[in-house]
Assembly symmetry: C2
Amino acid sequence: MKYELYFKDFLKAIEEKLEEALPPDSRYPSVIHEAMRYAVFPGGKRFRPVLALAACEAAGGNFEEALIPAAAVELIHCYSLVHDDLPALDNDEIRRQKPACHKRFGAAIAILAGDGLLSLAFQLLSRIQPAGKAVGILEELSTAAGTYGMIGGQVADLITKKEELNVPLVEFISIHKTGKLIKAGAVSGALAGGASKDALERVVKYGESVGLAFQFIDDLIDQDGSLQVIKAGEVRQKVRDLIAYGLRELRPLGSKTEKLNVIAGYLLKRLPRGNHVAVD
Amino acid sequence: MKYELYFKDFLKAIEEKLEEALPPDSRYPSVIHEAMRYAVFPGGKRFRPVLALAACEAAGGNFEEALIPAAAVELIHCYSLVHDDLPALDNDEIRRQKPACHKRFGAAIAILAGDGLLSLAFQLLSRIQPAGKAVGILEELSTAAGTYGMIGGQVADLITKKEELNVPLVEFISIHKTGKLIKAGAVSGALAGGASKDALERVVKYGESVGLAFQFIDDLIDQDGSLQVIKAGEVRQKVRDLIAYGLRELRPLGSKTEKLNVIAGYLLKRLPRGNHVAVD
């Protein structure tokens, strides 16, 4: 079954939550709210929020309990794309088949729109009840968004010259730039769902594995990143091992993890076949 | 007594908290942590965190209870300066008598250092106990930092052409760009100090008044902002009225508000005298 069909209910609920969370673009000064909405809609696969909702179910919760952290992790992801695309950083002009936020609104508004999305993500978390859950999720997401997480990975990527790249560095970059926020999405969902200590530890391991596998798959598709220092065949094997490890961790939690299992399956399907990979 | 002397204990505790909160600059990737520390140390007057600690005392708390929100509001302030100074925004090359963060580290690292400071501010809040206080302070600071607060003011300032400026617009900009975060500093401190509903409402009014007065005084010193549409004499009178109103609101809270009163007094002392003002 196609991803969009299998996760139809999740995706609908996520879009509604994001719609509700973002200020109306009629609100003065409207250009900033237009830019924030432009960065969020239409979205991509909404991978991180889908993961949050699935992890909530795996922890024994109802997915609706995790809609706030799901929206928050997506806002953090969207903000990071807006800032990444800026001329001072990657200088990417196209994002999700349309002009990047700074191409459409200018760099000044794009910087502030990213800032606005990040503050909004944390503002949303203040509405989670009870407060103890809100604080746990705040700690998880803010750490993943900061320099011990995503920003640390972006900076490492930025400062590492091609000739300096090696296996530990490429793993540091992949884990931090991409893995930490994906893991935090899963963990936030599990926390929202009232995960037991054991379930939480299992979701952490699953989230870390899937997060790193996600970046390796992107590298295989783009023929970049880890492929500069690791053979494609080995990267493919790492992806398979990571996903197998993540799935094994979930097994004791039983049938509630169905959607997390399915997500892992979709990731494996994105893995390019050997004969499509030029360098191997 | 000089500000630095009167608030010696507050300032020492704030510096220690900021020092503890910021990652060591030895931590990989070190350049981002160097840039974050460069943006925070040495500081200016630390007006917002001093206000937070004073408001905590006014609410009946011990100032040490408000050190986390105090550090957080200062990190948010510092991040906003780093992003404001960027070439795509104000393109300011000097900040606090040294090269702006982007002049020293480049625009890419400055953007990411600002992002890192913002995430770190919210991460700090997750350590406030009990969780109910953490969530209230999170709501206050994240709202003030977002597009209904500081960013809304920055954008309004950015998009308003000189010839479009009028009194309501200049008040919107002053309240949002500067006033909201100052007010949030005071309110966060009061929340940390366990303010009663009545005390909180009084601190809100004091914070709003002092926050707006702060911007008007800056305008009088810089001969800019509101002075483009309001006569200097009227702006001076507004400052006096705002501060008198703020002080009047505090009066029923008794002697615990001493430091908030003193802060208001220092603000009045910054007010340039009439004969120093060219346009009046």
